[in-house]
């Protein structure tokens, strides 16, 4: 594949080191035989385990966790009246510490109308239907704050996404996407995160990629962000056109990842490098 070598050299020349390393992986991957099956059951591990002690401490202590501010913002928004129907989240759901317990751990899921929704999607659906308000923009601060606040109510609880007749087709799609080679680097999620989890790329250990901590404060972003944002980063990483926010592909991937991480405990909001 001579073109891969050309791109590799131009990456080096442009000093896009991380990209060059990914390309070298693409070159070497066919020859690198040490791979494994997707970790299951007790072999599964949150990416928390791979972090430095400093970053772990940042996540563990709410007074050090930069995402705490998003949770507090969300707590305020929960009480805020919005939209033509003059309702707040609290108007229907009351005390979030009671009503939202375990909720984030059950997403993504299908609603009564047969739409697959993530937690953010569900928050926006409530805004439209029950508050008569405009939905929050994808990755907007208020939406992330509410997601962080609601997800925080499931902290320490197991992910409860199971295979059901309602979701099995979307789940199968998500699994196909996980195993599908994509982008100029022609890599699938599985090749790094299932087969080579625990090995290193560009000096960083490869996590198994379980969505146990979302939304996260990613040090790279210097901000809180969603799983969709992170998946889009992965797609850029393999030089694929990232799927749009709210796209079926991202939702199906999210569904598959949540099912793959079923029974693992939520850490939201997490801190990740």
């Amino acid at each position: 594949m001579p073109w891969v070598w050309q791109v590799f050299l131009s990456c080096l020349l442009e000093k896009r080191v991380s990209l060059a390393i990914l390309f070298s992986l693409a070159i070497l991957l066919p020859f690198h035989t040490s791979s494994q099956a997707d970790p299951v059951g007790a072999e599964r591990q949150s990416s928390y385990a791979l972090m430095s002690p400093d970053t772990k401490a940042m996540q563990d202590d709410p007074l050090l966790n930069p995402a705490t501010f998003a949770v507090l913002d969300g707590q305020v928004l929960w009480q805020e009246i919005a939209g033509k129907k003059n309702q707040s989240c609290a108007s229907c759901h009351g005390d979030a510490t009671v009503s939202m317990k375990g909720i984030a751990a059950s997403f993504p899921k299908f609603n009564a109308a047969g739409q697959l929704l993530s937690l953010s999607g569900r928050i926006n659906q409530c805004r439209i239907e029950h508050q008569g308000a405009t939905p929050f923009a994808f990755e907007s601060k208020p939406l992330l704050a509410l997601s962080a606040f609601v997800a925080n109510q499931s902290k320490g609880m197991p992910i409860t996404v199971e295979r059901t007749p309602a979701n099995e087709s979307a789940l199968a799609s998500g699994q196909r996407l996980f195993n599908q080679r994509m982008g100029q680097l022609n890599l699938s999620c599985a090749q790094c995160h299932a087969e080579r989890a625990g090995q290193e790329i560009a000096g960083n250990p490869i996590p198994q990629a379980h969505p146990t901590a979302y939304p996260i404060y990613r040090l790279e972003w210097q901000a809180v962000g969603s799983l969709e944002r992170r998946l889009r980063n992965c797609l850029v990483g393999v030089r694929a056109e990232p799927f749009a926010f709210g796209s079926t592909e991202l939702l199906e991937l999210e569904l598959f990842l949540a099912w793959r991480a079923r029974a693992m405990l939520l850490e939201s909001p997490g801190v990740r490098p």
Binding site: L63, L64, F69, L72, V76, K141, Q222, A223
Partner: protein, 109 residues
């Protein structure tokens, strides 16, 4: 700059005279360094907190000069001696008229 800007102060409410107290303070602020660019290549202007002061019953006991290399949501952990009961005031100020202040009461026995 963040739309809301909270400060979280962690310190004991009571202390013995002469005791050294650890104060931990974190403020919500993006600390836009001025070195980042938008996707279309435009530089995002610098917008940071520049100054932090702690006063104890009106007397300045600790001050910090912040530069763009200070991380987002600045966290500072420092110490002060419990001298008398009273109020500690924590003030942040910075670019674009940013100003934020929090107080904490301390009982010293």
């Amino acid at each position: 700059m963040s739309k809301t800007s909270r400060t979280i102060v962690t310190m004991p409410a009571t202390a013995k005279k002469g005791e050294i107290l650890e104060i931990r303070i974190i403020v919500q602020h993006d600390m836009e360094s001025g070195f980042r660019h938008t996707e279309t290549g435009q530089r995002i202007p610098r917008d940071i907190i520049r100054d932090f002061r702690c006063t104890y019953n009106g007397v300045e006991v600790f001050r910090v000069e912040l530069h763009p290399a200070m991380g987002a949501n600045p966290l500072i952990v420092f110490t002060t001696t419990a001298t008398e009961s009273g109020t500690l005031e924590f003030k942040w100020s910075g670019d674009n008229g940013y100003a934020s202040s929090t107080t904490s009461t301390l009982t010293v026995t």
